[in-house]
């Protein structure tokens, strides 16, 4: 029931992910951040097997950092996406990672970009993408309202429209979402959309 989606705007890319950590019928927590900051100008929004999700994205994050330490220059978003896909592909026929990824980044030379990478190592460069049951609703909303060169306000409005659809139409919909954005100034958290807050622990 995990929902991850994202889109490319005029000089930024935005990704949103639900924040519930679920095990069978139990919700462990509803503020799990599934969008990792890969480096200063890249985001990885991941969904799937929770152990694999953290293991794989941290592995990619550390390899991206190692590249930068060794070579003094960061990887481009395309290079990072292809590297990520390659790691999924290599593991696929032995010990696959069940992780779906939307990789968003901003490069000075080429601007914002978004890459769709699924667990069987499919790679597509896209303007908008989504994973999970929520994709039925978010892709439909994005197909209807997306146009190239959207401003941040327009894009966040579209993200919110998608979240409303997911909340109202998906059975066992995740209540909370996190939105992160990447532009020329870097990758950062934009906002949370919470309809359920974890109750505060009663003081002793």
């Amino acid at each position: 029931m995990e929902c991850v989606f994202g889109l490319v705007g005029n000089d930024f890319a935005v990704v949103a992910a639900d924040t519930s950590a679920v095990h069978s019928i139990l919700v462990h927590k509803s503020n799990e951040d599934k969008i990792m900051i890969l480096d200063s100008h890249k985001l990885i929004a991941a969904s799937g097997e929770s152990g694999d999700r953290v293991q794989f994205t941290e592995y990619i994050q550390k390899n991206v950092a190692l590249y930068q330490f060794r070579n003094g220059i960061p990887l481009t978003t395309a290079a990072a996406a292809n590297f990520t896909r390659g790691e999924l592909a290599t593991a696929l026929r032995k010990n696959p990672y069940f992780v779906n990824i939307l990789l968003a980044g901003y490069d000075k030379e080429t601007g914002p970009s978004l890459y769709y990478i699924d667990y069987i190592a499919t790679l597509h460069k896209v303007d908008k993408g989504a994973f999970g049951y929520g994709s039925y609703f978010s892709l439909a909303m994005m197909d209807r309202h997306y146009h190239s060169g959207m401003t941040v306000e327009e894009a966040i409005d579209l993200v919110d429209k998608c979240i409303v659809e997911i909340r109202s139409r998906l059975v066992v919909a995740p209540p909370n979402f996190v939105i992160k954005i990447v532009d020329k100034d870097g990758a950062k958290e934009y906002a949370w959309r919470e309809s359920v807050k974890d109750a505060a622990v009663a003081s002793a």
Binding site: N71, A79, N82
Partner: protein, 258 residues
């Protein structure tokens, strides 16, 4: 000349690459560099619109089939080429290794390998032969010429020890010290590719041992950008080279041999 400075003591520390001498030297690495000092020279010059590589051919028999193969210059990838000085068979192994490393990078990242990373990777391979495995070092020095989007045109020199550095102009092989000091005097930062070709041919003509310079004794290659923005590696044809030698006035016997 470090060869003549070696004492009888060094005989005990010669035979294995993997040990230091008491003075802290690696004799096998130094002997490898000796071998290159007797090989055909090569010069590389970095200009603002390209990199020029010129090499002296040692094998100049009329019977040699020279239509397709080159002796001094090799293409590693679409955006990187190299000139070699030293043992040719050793060079072939390393060139193949460099080609594989470049393709492996492109396979992983779907982008051309940055030039310095390629040089560093090959030099890491060479370093291995100076530290473990019991195998001798490679008797080759390289001049790498390439272009990438990070640093534009670049020229690197590497030797059997696995050390490398970036240069504006460099020489390897026979008489490389004389060539290097000539380059130091005449090189200017804003040199154009055509001026670099002229300088390279002039320096090579002065440092080569042969009495006259013809296009059969030389190879000339350039790495530059086409108008459409693609990197091009071009080996000069024998005819064009002869014309250039005439144009720059370097075909007559050298006035002074070094």
């Amino acid at each position: 000349n470090c060869g003549s400075a070696l004492t009888k003591m060094s005989r005990r520390y010669d035979s294995r690459t993997t040990i230091f001498s008491p003075e802290g030297r690696l004799y096998q690495v130094e002997y490898a560099m000796e071998a290159i000092g007797n090989a055909g020279s090569a010069i590389g010059i970095l200009s603002k619109d390209g990199v020029v590589l010129v090499g002296e051919k040692k094998v100049t028999s009329k019977l040699l089939q020279t239509s397709t193969s080159t002796e001094k210059m090799y293409k590693i990838d679409d955006h990187v080429a190299c000139a070699v000085a030293g043992i040719m068979s050793d060079a072939n192994i390393l060139i193949n290794t460099a080609r594989v490393q470049a393709q492996r990078y492109t396979y992983a990242y779907q982008e051309p390998m940055p030039v310095e990373q390629l040089v560093q990777s090959l030099c890491d391979t060479k370093q291995g032969y100076t530290q473990f495995g019991g195998l001798r070092p490679f008797g080759v020095s390289f001049l790498f010429a390439g272009w990438d989007k990070n640093y534009g045109f670049q020229l690197y020199m590497s030797d059997p020890s696995g050390n490398y550095s970036g240069w504006k102009a460099a020489a390897i092989g026979a008489n490389n010290q004389a060539a290097q000091s000539m380059l130091k005097q005449d090189y200017k930062d804003e040199i154009t590719r055509e001026e670099a070709v002229q300088l390279a041919l002039k320096v090579l003509s002065k440092t080569m041992d042969s009495t006259s310079l013809t296009s059969e004794k030389l190879e000339l290659a350039e790495v530059f950008l086409t108008p459409s923005g693609n990197v091009k590696y071009q080996v000069c044809s024998s005819d064009s080279l002869s014309k250039l030698l005439l144009k720059f006035g370097v075909t007559q016997p050298a006035a002074e041999t070094s």
